[in-house]
């Protein structure tokens, strides 16, 4: 294969850096008007009155839409259920007078230009009947009130796994025990691109919607549900996305407002949220997790319990399986899990990069570090003693698992053997040096997907699928796979994605698109090959007359015997002979349910921190992230994914926190000056290593995907390094310097 596995630069890179890539809020259309959103200032209650008279008096204002004058929208929850909606009653923008969270959209001011809309929005006066709200997630375990369990163990993919053995008795009998409570605050995705939608109202009343999303067909279906529109009346486009990280899995409210205004006014409408308003969307839920581990003196695990309390809104029941990662990862005969959820007067949380694993594994891997300390064992050695070749929750072997090699290569690259075990025992001048490590784990998922390929006689291929490229490099890996499968040069492949009229794709999430779409391209390529072979066999004196399809490959514009390159005919000749100049086929690829294996990616992360002893200032000076994720399609884009994940993990460990004022029920640091993420100065050396992990059983190409694995475990590795440096165990993220000085 020529392209798969190489460091191919992004095929859309030039368009992006030269500004020709068009994002949702830049889409060109004529006669555009602009909407500015007014949001609620209270967290719970009702709107008594909205006075829009001043706003309407402003010159160039077209209309102000509120729940009182909006066009019809669906009245049943089913109208608002998107592909990934949790149980409950989805939020309905501008539906009625009820306020469910602070920052909720309550009016859309539409004007001829964005500045006028913004100005007029400031003139909308709202009177509320306020009700008491609760927005506080419990930072201490013992403060949590009685809460309902999320679901029965094993009831659904997100409920805790079924228990095994008798954890309580085994813990009581364990030689060494550790228990800790680990807190993660509310975190926001903060993608660079603001949420925005441009809706073109076509003359025939259909809507062309440019949206920032991770799933164009999800948005299309959703809009049809909300506004009772026939599917052919709505087309959703999202050719480029400036980051989303899970925030774009569900349709966001600006797309509803833009479509609603377009339908009401019969005009093309653009709505762009402000950065502040983006803190009224979904987020990674705050959570407290209690983990108890019991081990034999030799460091083998006997028992574990992993309990979590997470948060959701008052209207939807959102939760993910934080607890299950503990049960899966290490050999341990006894395990129980519990997961409760606190409903709060805030928007529904949503998936954010490695949902549940970034947080659940953070808690587990800090607890493992603490257990290693209690056992007097090297933290890496402890992991190796508990290594499991089977998914402990299902007791299935993995389709492949080369975590051993991650540990080995990571430790070697980092120089782990030079670590002195005692906390505070390594120094560099006025700084304490700490080395910490952690394991990461994520799922290798794959989902049904359809791919259409049009191959022309002149050697050009157009590959179409309604998936998205949220910045991960999907355009590029699709082009690489297609070029290899069809035997054409990379620059002769055109990728079309981010268009709801293209062949079916689920939302881009869960790290499942690379594996799914790549194998989807392979399937459709096979079909093209078969059709070509059928034609080739009819050619006079065909060198391929007696050959089976499986023995033919497409290489360098030719159909060729895989065994004997001399037996070949050119694709151009084949098509000419068949009297056609192109073959266009669409195939759906489904992945058989594999009940015999678990499919996961793994990583080992090693981190070095330097901490100013007196002032508590932390610098993460070195990180080695070693990843086992099946076949790597593109080492360049894959490294970028892992680098980004590591940076994010450093932020999770040291910086990120949404500050909620519970008196007002509002986010107070709703901007990226005060919501801290790492800046360049916070990032030093990051080394990404992919270990070989051949996997013949997961799918034809052996691909696992790696959008999420990069962040998992990083916060724990950093937190463990901070402990090793300072002797202080901070379990409450982020580890700000005041917590070290306390």
């Amino acid at each position: 294969m020529t392209y798969i596995g190489t460091a191919t630069s992004r095929v859309d890179g030039h368009a992006k850096v030269t500004g020709t890539a068009t994002y949702a809020a830049e889409a060109k259309t004529t006669g555009l008007v602009h909407g500015s959103v007014v949001t609620s200032s209270i967290a719970k209650g009702r709107i008594v009155r909205i006075d829009v008279s001043d706003a309407l008096r402003v010159d160039r204002v077209i209309d102000v839409l509120t729940h009182a004058n909006r066009p019809p929208m669906a009245d049943a929850d089913s109208g608002y259920k998107d592909e990934v909606a949790p149980d409950g009653s989805p939020f309905r923008p501008l539906y009625d007078d009820r306020i469910l969270f602070s920052g909720q959209p309550i009016a859309l001011v539409v004007a001829e230009d964005p500045e006028t809309a913004q100005f007029a929005a400031s003139l909308v006066r709202v009177e509320y009947a306020e009700e008491p709200h609760v927005t506080e997630m419990y930072r201490r375990w013992d403060d949590a009130p009685a809460l309902k369990a999320v679901a029965k163990p094993g009831e659904n993919p997100f409920s805790p796994p079924k228990p095994r053995g008798n954890a309580k008795a085994a813990l009581a009998a364990a030689a060494v025990r550790h228990q800790g409570d680990y807190y993660v605050p509310v975190e926001y995705h903060n993608p660079m691109e603001l949420y925005g939608s441009t809706v073109t109202y076509e003359s025939d009343g259909t809507l062309t919607v440019f949206d920032k999303t991770q799933g164009v067909q999800n948005v299309q279906c959703y809009l049809c549900g909300v506004f009772a529109l026939a599917p052919e009346r709505v087309q959703v486009l999202s050719p480029f996305t400036g980051g989303a990280f899970g925030s774009g899995l569900r349709p966001q409210y600006q797309v509803v407002l833009a479509a609603l205004a377009a339908l009401a006014l019969k005009r093309s409408v653009r709505v762009v949220l402000t950065r502040q308003q983006m803190y009224g969307l979904g987020y990674r839920p705050a959570m407290i997790q209690r983990i108890e581990l019991g081990a034999k003196g030799d460091g083998t695990l006997e028992a574990m319990t992993h309990d979590a309390i997470t948060m959701t809104s008052q209207y939807e029941h959102f939760y993910r399986q934080e607890t299950g990662w503990s049960g899966l990862l290490y050999q341990c005969p006894n395990a129980t899990y519990a997961h409760r959820v606190a409903p709060l007067d805030l928007p529904t949380p949503c998936d954010m990069r490695a949902p549940s694993a970034a947080t659940g594994v953070y808690a587990l891997e800090c607890a493992m570090d603490e257990l290693a300390v209690a056992l007097g064992l090297d933290p890496l050695e402890l992991r190796q003693r508990c290594y499991s070749d089977r998914d402990q929750n299902t007791n299935r072997p993995y389709s492949s698992k080369n975590l051993h090699e991650c540990y080995r290569q990571g430790a070697e690259a980092f120089g782990w053997e030079k670590r002195s075990p005692e906390p505070r025992s390594m120094r560099d001048g006025s700084e304490l040096v700490g080395w910490g490590m952690a394991t990461g784990v994520w799922e290798a998922l794959q989902v049904p997907i359809a791919v259409r390929i049009a191959l022309t006689a002149n050697g050009h291929a157009e590959v179409s699928c309604a998936t998205s490229d949220i910045g991960t490099g999907t355009y590029t890996i699709m082009a690489q796979v297609a070029a290899d499968m069809l035997g054409v040069p990379l620059d002769q492949v055109t990728i079309r994605l981010g268009d709801s009229t293209l062949p079916q794709s689920p939302v881009e999430g869960g790290s499942w698109i690379a594996a799914s779409v790549a194998n989807g391209i392979a399937t459709t390529s096979d079909a093209i090959r078969d059709e070509l072979l059928g034609l080739a066999k009819q050619m006079p004196n065909s060198p391929l007359s007696d050959i089976a399809p499986g023995e033919v490959v497409l290489v360098d514009g030719k159909l060729m015997s895989a065994r004997d390159p001399a037996r070949a005919v050119s694709i151009a000749d084949t098509m000419r002979h068949g009297g056609i100049d192109r073959i266009e086929l669409e195939k759906t690829t489904r992945f058989p349910k594999d009940e015999t294996h678990s499919h996961n990616t793994h990583s080992a992360i090693f981190a070095e921190v330097k901490v100013d002893e007196e002032l508590g200032v932390i610098r993460v000076t070195r990180v080695v992230s070693t990843v086992a994720a099946g076949r790597i399609l593109n080492t360049k884009t894959a490294s970028s994914q892992i680098l980004g994940g590591v940076v994010w993990g450093i932020g999770m460990a040291l910086h990120e926190e949404t500050l909620l004022d519970h008196t007002f029920g509002r986010v107070m640091n709703a901007n990226i000056a005060e919501y801290h993420v790492p800046v360049n100065a916070d990032i030093h050396d990051i080394d990404v290593i992919f270990v070989d992990e051949p996997d013949d059983s997961i799918n034809r190409l052996g691909i696992k995907g790696l959008g999420e694995i990069g962040i998992v475990g990083v916060a724990a590795a950093v937190a463990n390094a901070v402990y090793h440096a300072t002797g202080k165990r901070v379990r409450d993220l982020p580890i700000t310097l005041d917590k070290l000085l306390a």
Binding site: S41, S102, E115, Q118, F119, S122, T274, Q276, G429, S430, E431, K610, D612, E614, L615, G616, V617, R619, L654, H655, L659, D661, T663, F664, R666, M668, N669, A670, A673, E674, H676, P678, V679, N680, A681, D682, T736, L737, D738, L741, A742
Partner: protein, 338 residues
Amino acid sequence: MINFRYTRATDVGDAVRQIAAEPKAKFIAGGTNILDLMKYEVEQPTQLIDISHLPLRIIEEVPSGGLRIGALVPNSDLAYHPLIEARYPILSSAILAGASQQLRNMASTGGNLMQRTRCFYFYDTVTPCNKREPGSGCSAIEGINRINAILGTSEACIATHPSDMCVALAALEATVHVIGPSGERAIPFADFHRLPGGTPEIDTNLAPDEIIMAVELPPQGFASHYSYLKIRDRLSYAFALVSAAAALELDGGRIAEARLALGGVAHKPWRRVEAEAALRGEVPDRAAFAKAADILLRGSCGFAHNGFKIGLAHRVIERTLMQAAHGTPQIQAIKKIR
């Protein structure tokens, strides 16, 4: 954002005339603070008077031996000016500890003095805030106050002044030259910013119809023993939790002259001449520094989330004085603390 009128001042006199004529007008220089505040509707000027092109961009030597810095000199130009780097490196260092390169390119000297607090509630018009809306109450006292003040607070307001540059200017005992309808006057730096008291809405002693023309530095620049140390929640591009500017003159192993100012802890750069007096004549060691810190922090009082600043400030003072005494000032491009 609220609609406003935009005008350009033709010269300094015109700027003063325009602002005197419209009490709800505001100047705009670099715009890095005023525009954000307008977008959040915290500031609602009826008129923006653009002064950015006025000829106040020069740094010149004055007969007394000091330097005069025009109010529109960009923060970057000031930080990298050869005379500043050579004679007042503490000012360079403090500026480079602040914001980002892009912001410093836009930010002006006068604007930096006039920038407003970063208190979260001040920025959110939904919440009560005495500084934004006198008499409405202070949400920070019982709210999220991790970034708020520990010194010089009042029952009305516990905000801090966020500037780094101003901490160095306070230590250098700069003078602010201003002009208004009744003429020019010079304001000693220590009197420029105010404590909140009962009128937190008034940040400075600049009259509403006055404009800053220049900041003057006295001859003494403490170029050999100084340091500016800023502690924040990430290693760059964040406001100070606590910062300190320390400047010393050493003579025969003892401190002949000392200046010490803190940022991030009060409504203005925090200085006490008693703390500096206590350093004079002492051997520059930890005991002397700790004593000065005690005096400078006397009366400090934390709230629910910012009590840590008191201990932190103590350590920062000692460390900064140590860096100054050893002639090893903090280098802003290097994040390891010396």
